[in-house]
């Protein structure tokens, strides 16, 4: 999503967000992320207004004091930025890829099922499986911090069963053009 994304040409404008909309954003995030309200207040303090940065292809980035906090494509899931996931690694459910897949992910590739099901990969056990379409943080073998974020193309149980083709569509990763924007 943020491959070949250039702030000077792909951002169409910045607007303030109505307080009613801010309230519903807050509610949506608290229902979508695994984060308690107290911790989330620390990420986005209640009285502080967030700014919407409108970008090409219906990407919305929300920033606080110039720092991107979360984003959305159309009306899809609300994604925290990777830097936010580094600070609060528990807010998105976790999948893991093996060391061999890291290089491909950093080039923007989607994650193939075998990279998730191999010995170095990680998928949640069946009783806490995730449905297709879920937003996930992608961790990597031998690494402490998440390397990217994505959307499950198949449910985690189907990834184990099918074990070929794309399992996770990469949305945002270390070194992409959203990562490069530390301040807008």
């Amino acid at each position: 999503m943020f491959k070949k994304f250039s702030p000077s040409t792909d951002i169409s404008g910045q607007t303030s967000v109505k307080s009613s909309v801010q309230r519903s954003l807050r509610t949506n995030i608290l229902s979508q992320w695994k984060v308690d309200p107290e911790t989330f207040d620390q990420i986005w303090p209640k009285k502080e207004p967030i700014t919407l940065v409108k970008c090409r292809e219906h990407i919305s980035i929300y920033q606080l004091h110039g720092e991107p906090l979360f984003f959305q494509h159309y009306d899809g899931p609300l994604f925290p930025t990777l830097r936010l996931v580094h600070k609060y690694p528990f807010i998105l459910p976790k999948v893991g890829v093996d060391r061999g897949a890291i290089r491909f992910l950093l080039a923007g590739a989607h994650m193939m099922c075998p990279g998730l099901t191999s010995k170095g990969g990680y998928l949640p056990p069946a009783d806490s499986g995730l449905p297709a379409g879920a937003a996930v943080a992608i961790f990597a073998e031998g690494k402490e911090h998440a390397v990217g974020l994505g959307v499950l193309k198949l449910s985690t149980e189907d990834i184990k069963k099918v074990n070929k083709d794309i399992g996770v569509e990469t949305v945002h990763y270390l070194g992409d053009d959203l990562w490069a924007i530390q301040k807008l």
Binding site: K34, D36, T39, H86, Y88, P89, G100, I102, H145, G175
Partner: protein, 198 residues
């Protein structure tokens, strides 16, 4: 995970402090996948030897192999070195290109008394054209805008003949016009063709 879930009491969870690399901006553990690994390592060794040991001591290197075979690891390292060399070559080429590119300042006669000045090529030196246009407009109390020329390239058009002044601004490196070698600046004049030539 279970700890985070059970502590949903009124206590906010403190953020994890991540050490990011000053060279490639990645978390330190991912420097090896970037395109400046050698520089990343050198910088960390100098800035923070303790952290350097955490990531690059023999034990750490052994542990990170994980499930990857030695052979695959060797291949990976070879590719990383290639990538690094490529990135360096690219940076070199970009620098050369920058040093070779020209800023053209053109005095254009619109009619007998009216001139405009076009400034072309500033972007090659990392100058934000909109900011530069604003600076010109303020400095000369005139109109200045960023437009596309006939070749579809962006340039700045300033109302009035200010070509000499702009050359001076660049020479002094005023405002956003920093870092442009004056040797790369050329001044030209564009007069409309007169009937019968002259």
């Amino acid at each position: 995970m279970s700890e985070a879930e059970s502590s949903t009491a009124a206590q906010a969870v403190a953020p994890v402090q991540v050490h990011y690399c000053e060279v490639c901006t990645f978390p330190l553990e991912y420097c090896e996948f970037g395109s400046s690994f050698k520089k990343c390592k050198e910088s960390l060794q100098k800035e923070d030897p303790e952290l350097y040991d955490k990531y690059y001591s023999d034990e750490a290197l052994q542990a990170k192999l994980g499930t990857l075979s030695l052979e695959a690891q060797a291949k990976l390292e070879k590719e990383a070195a290639k990538k690094e060399a490529k990135a360096e070559a690219k940076a070199d080429a970009a620098l050369k290109k920058k040093l070779a590119s020209q800023v053209t300042i053109k005095r254009i006669e619109r009619n007998k008394r009216k001139h405009v000045t076009s400034v072309h090529g500033l972007e090659a030196f990392g100058v934000d054209l909109k900011k530069a246009a604003k600076q010109f407009a303020q400095k000369f109390a005139t109109g200045a805008s960023v437009t596309k020329n006939l070749q579809g390239q962006e340039e700045i058009i300033v109302q009035g003949d200010v070509s000499g002044e702009i050359v001076e601004l660049i020479e002094e490196g005023v405002g956003v016009l920093k870092g442009i070698p004056i040797d790369n600046v050329v001044e030209v004049e564009d007069k409309p063709k007169k009937k019968g030539g002259d």
